[in-house]
């Protein structure tokens, strides 16, 4: 596992007449963890889909280690890039181990069997997401959070140098959120991750890109990007940002409208 460089150059995406993403540029240097944040419908998922080669850009390029991702054969790209997408997949009675084993497919030729090395990588990936105990369970019978972890394990088993994840912490409980994101940080791979939770993004990402209406409105280290002014502007909600004394990361607290008026004047009424 090594780390790849991702460069998105002026990508524009449309669906019919609707423009999903316009002229977005983004760089992830090898080994960085880049967070993509923004409100619903801001174009996060669409941008990720252009990166993992499902939604073809109308303009612009996606380069992975310099090569145009859309010009590479699908299988070649899959050896470099793995993705955790938001898509319900029917399991058809596949076991969890078999689902994770799919991650080895891009490294296989036509009639290759599964090797001991594959088995080792699959077990390792399952352990990394705390799902080793689920290995022989039918995938269809898992809870939402368990499934999500298994899909992350599948991406890990792919041994990517670039990992793209769309809301990977959805359905996960608090402990697994922290464990999964902590594991992603520990990987040598470059990571591009869309996150709803700004505090998780602030803690785990090296840099953030903030999307609004399909365009980048701000980018940089979390401490520089996550300001009350920007949050009010992008999310339309008043917020306070403080550096957490223990983690050292910016900590965002959104203020409900009834509390926002008294912000700065001490605790909210009734507190």
């Amino acid at each position: 596992m090594t780390a790849a460089e991702l460069v998105v150059e002026g990508v524009t995406l449309t669906a019919g007449a609707r423009r999903l993403v316009r002229d977005v540029s983004l760089t992830a240097r090898p080994g960085e963890v880049i967070g993509l944040v923004g409100p619903n419908g801001s174009g996060k998922s669409s941008l990720l889909r252009a990166v993992y080669r499902v939604l073809r850009p109308d303009a612009g390029r996606v380069r992975v280690d310099g090569a145009d991702a859309w010009a590479l054969p699908v299988r070649r790209l899959a050896r470099t890039l793995a993705a955790v997408v938001q898509e319900p997949g029917a399991g058809f009675d596949l076991s969890v181990r078999e689902v994770v084993a799919m991650g080895r497919t891009p490294h296989k030729r036509l009639l290759d069997g599964d090797t001991a090395e594959d088995a080792r990588l699959i077990e390792g990936a399952l352990e990394a997401v705390d799902a080793a105990a689920l290995a022989d369970r039918p995938f269809d019978r898992l809870s939402g959070g368990e499934r999500q972890r298994v899909l992350i394990a599948r991406a890990l088993a792919q041994q990517p140098s670039l990992l793209v994840l769309d809301e990977p912490t959805n359905h996960l409980d608090v402990r697994h959120r922290l464990e999964v994101l902590g594991h992603l940080r520990s990987l040598p791979a470059t990571v591009l991750v869309a996150l709803h939770d700004l505090n998780l993004a602030a803690y785990y990402c090296d840099r953030l890109y903030v999307l609004r209406d399909g365009a980048v409105t701000a980018s940089g280290p979390p401490a520089e990007v996550l300001t009350p002014a920007l949050l009010a502007d992008v999310y339309g909600v008043a917020a306070e940002v403080a550096v957490h004394p223990r983690t050292g990361a910016p900590q965002v607290t959104f203020l409900p409208p009834e509390a926002a008026g008294t912000a700065g004047a001490g605790p909210a009424p009734g507190a």
Partner: protein
């Protein structure tokens, strides 16, 4: 390798203490060993294959023994091994019985086995390709399309491809129907099980109606009756000379599908996921549609549209060996062969001396199975809270 700097100035030990350990490439998984990755289903797979192989041999012998003239199974065994040159002893049976077993029943049993294997494998692959547990050549109208193609050739006497005309027309009919049903059912890049089956049933009904119209308007007297019987699906009347084509088509189909088993697995993950796992979904599906239509078309031309084999067998097989196509496909092929040989035995004996079209029997089993499957899947989806 790049060591990651902390994201912000604060020293960060990682909230879970995950640190660098636990990565899949760092070998925390102990030593699972070569076979450990296969799980309990691997061993069961071998047992199931051997059992089905033995069952197929026994079924074939039974299929050649049963009929208006009963031939004892031991004698069938003797006739077959003698004909294959495995047994050099003097024949103790009459010429007539040898003719019945070798020239009448053996090709029929073989056609049953080949057709059952082909339909089961096509059904399994189709379910993965359209990601729908209810997919099957008959339910999706593909068999009806193949029938219409074949009947067109019969009624209009077209023989563009000589003796292959019937199969070629059935193939074309199957492929066109599959494309039509698939594109009708797919809207906005999504395809729901219900819509797919509805599109298949509607197309199938129209195509069957056209087939019947052609037969009635064709005015070929007795021939129409024979063809009508054929549209119900039956294995009778096959001779050695016509067996090679379905045999070759099924061998080709099963062979190619086995090499694509991993890709079929990827499709179960969903189209986007399959793409990120290295499968060019559009191209793969197009090629597979052609292959499945070819096998379906040739089988329909040879044995008529036999329904539900492609629905029942893959699901039963998955209960035993799991969902991995590397195991599902070979198991389904064997199980389908056994199933149809027995279905044909039943078709010949239940109302003897009258013969029931085997397609009628498979529909009798398959309809209730379909309903059960529909209710089971609906229950599962409801239990999960996912549509």
């Amino acid at each position: 390798m790049t060591a990651k700097a902390p994201a912000s100035a604060a020293a960060r030990s990682g909230p879970s203490g995950a640190g660098p350990a636990g990565g899949p490439d760092r070998g925390t998984g102990g030593e699972p060993g070569g076979g450990a990755g296969r799980g309990p289903r691997g061993a069961r797979f071998a047992v199931v294959l051997v059992a089905l192989g033995a069952a197929l041999v026994l079924s074939a012998v039974a299929g050649m023994a049963v009929g208006s003239v009963r031939v004892p199974p031991g004698e069938v065994w003797g006739i077959v091994t003698h004909a294959l040159g495995l047994d050099r002893s003097e024949p103790s049976w009459s010429r007539a019985r040898e003719t019945i077993v070798l020239d009448v029943r053996a090709p029929r049993v073989l056609l049953g086995a080949v057709t059952g294997a082909g339909l089961a494998v096509v059904g399994a692959a189709m379910q993965a390709l359209v990601r729908n547990p209810l997919a099957e050549p008959y339910l999706l109208g593909v068999s009806s399309g193949a029938s219409l193609g074949a009947v067109t050739v019969i009624v209009f006497g077209v023989s563009l491809f000589g003796p292959l005309s019937l199969s070629a027309a059935a193939f074309a009919g199957a492929l066109l129907t599959l494309l039509l049903v698939y594109t009708t059912a797919r809207t906005g890049g999504r395809i729901t099980p219900v819509r797919l089956v509805l599109a298949g049933v509607a197309c199938g009904a129209v195509l069957t109606a056209v087939t019947h119209l052609l037969l009635l308007a064709g005015d070929r007297g007795n021939q129409a009756r024979a063809v009508l019987a054929w549209t119900l699906g039956g294995l009778g009347g096959v001779r050695w000379g016509t067996l090679w084509l379905p045999g070759a088509a099924v061998l080709l189909g099963v062979g190619v599908l086995l090499t694509r088993a991993r890709s079929l697995n990827l499709l179960l993950a969903g189209e986007e996921s399959a793409t990120t796992l290295g499968l060019d979904v559009g191209r793969f599906r197009a090629r597979m549609f052609v292959l499945l239509s070819l096998v379906t078309g040739v089988l329909v031309a040879a044995a008529g549209p036999i329904g539900f084999v492609g629905l029942i067998l893959p699901h039963v097989v998955r209960l035993f060996v799991g969902g991995d196509h590397r195991r599902v496909l070979p198991t389904a092929a064997l199980a389908g062969a056994v199933f149809l040989v027995w279905a044909d035995i039943a078709a010949r004996t239940v109302a003897a001396p009258m013969e029931i079209p085997v397609g009628v029997l498979t529909a009798l089993c398959g309809g209730p199975f379909f309903l059960w499957l529909m209710r089971r899947d609906a229950g599962r989806a409801a239990g999960r809270g996912v549509a």
